[in-house]
Symmetry: C2
Subunit: 248 residues, 2 copies
DNA sequence: AACCCCACTTGATGTCGATCAAAGCACTGA
DNA sequence: TCAGTGCTTTGATCGACATCAAGTGGGGTT
């Protein structure tokens, strides 16, 4: 599924993931050179706001390391996370100079930035970049729509299970499955961030996680370290179709 | 905002909107000729399901006339609408042969279809098409994310007001504003479809519409015909930032 | 006219998650 | 060591929306 696809992508290039994600495998040396001239790195601390909605964006960027969130806030302070940025994900929009969302670093975050104008010119001359960006955007659209189903129709328990399943699945593909088929991972988000993502309050998130633990669906060590003894039991709680899953 | 942008677009070409939306203003005669060879039209009745999620899609298409909905359904029948297709909107995805959503005609619907393989080849040779598609997809992503905020954080009343505002604004730009600044339009959706869009039940939709009528925010004639006496009052109910609106 | 059908409205009641409030717990720095 | 702070858990209560259950009313058919 799209949301999982997105989360399973990861860096394949030490120096700059944008080459792979935005320029694609077909990129040749000239393109790399072009990119090398325009790029610069920036690092942010956990909790720092990278971009405020409404800011002027004179760059586009790609996450190199760390996790960031995309979120929207209403006047009265209600906020909804609309995207999770993981390494290799793209930020910014060619052809628009105003940021539409807040971008907040969840962990220490390194981004590889490109000045927007030259990047746009590069896109004109290098069809692969545009094509790769189109594929990435379509994946994000699928992810957003999957999330709409979650926000609109799932119960709190299903929402939590879905989020855990996505994180577990991503980490599982990163070879963190323990010998006996258990999946173990650390939650990269606070309870509040999870609540903002799921359209819940942090208390409800906490209660539902406790409930899943009580019911033996997950095990908790500390506040962040999660063990999933049987992935299939977690998936049963998500409300999703589970056919054809790796963990069935 | 993005969602409104999307809804204000309309056909600018009698024979085939895809030329304008997907090929963009820079398209030359050759591109038009190419498209002419591959396209064919299909018409559906209101209520008909055009595509089932999981179907093989050997075509991409563009809405010529009418309204369709994109929706996702869970095993137990809960459904969430994830997009509204209006004239000139694009359906389908280059590079994927399986439909990810149900597409249902809300009104009588005419689509202009292109066989997928030739369309993909055309995209390879004609960068403008890909660039236009990228812009459209980015707009849809913004719309989806705006909808995520609505689904996750808005109250039932705000959801209804937001939906009415979007429809009103679209129709207003289509010059349906009556002399005294009132906005008048017909709802293109049933209460149930609105509920599926907003993540509510049809009863709640009905009650909230009644409440807005009681409070004088809207006037109702029959079940579908709506008059908005003061757009600003409706906008106040949406919970959105209202700065810079045409109707302020 | 009489009937049905379907979309819609309205009412009564129930429940899930929000809200308000108070601890608990790990970590920091003095 | 101890207070201070931020994140989390848990409890009590409330309220918005869902659910269940009758109606209503317009449009079409016979």
């Amino acid at each position: 599924m799209a949301f999982q696809e997105k989360l399973t992508t990861h860096i394949e290039c030490e120096s700059c993931p944008i080459r792979h994600r935005a320029v694609c495998a077909k990129c040749d040396v000239d393109e790399l050179e072009l990119l090398a001239d325009m790029k610069y790195y920036r690092t942010y601390d956990a909790g720092q706001t990278v971009i405020w909605s409404g800011d002027t964006m004179d760059f586009v960027a790609s996450v190199v390391e760390g996790i960031a969130t995309l979120s929207q806030t209403m006047e009265d302070g209600r906020t909804q996370m609309v995207g999770l940025l993981l390494p290799s994900d793209f930020v910014g929009r060619p052809g628009r100079d105003e940021a539409a969302y807040d971008v907040v670093a969840t962990t220490r975050l390194t981004m590889c930035c490109f000045r927007r104008k030259p990047f746009e010119e590069l896109m004109e001359n290098t069809p692969h970049i545009g094509q790769r960006l189109l594929q990435m955007t379509l994946d994000e659209l699928d992810a957003a729509r999957e999330w709409m189903l979650l926000l609109g129709r799932k119960t709190a328990r299903e929402k939590i299970a879905s989020l855990l399943a996505i994180i577990a699945r991503r980490d599982a593909t990163l070879n963190l499955i323990s010998p006996k088929g258990k999946v173990v991972f650390d939650l990269p988000l606070t309870r509040e961030a999870m609540a903002d993502y799921l359209g819940l309050t942090l208390e409800t998130v906490s209660r539902q996680i406790s409930a899943l633990r009580r019911d033996g669906v997950i095990e908790l060590e500390g506040k962040r370290h999660v063990t999933v003894p049987q992935m299939s039991r977690l998936l049963d709680e998500t409300g999703d179709d589970t056919d054809g899953g790796v963990f069935a």
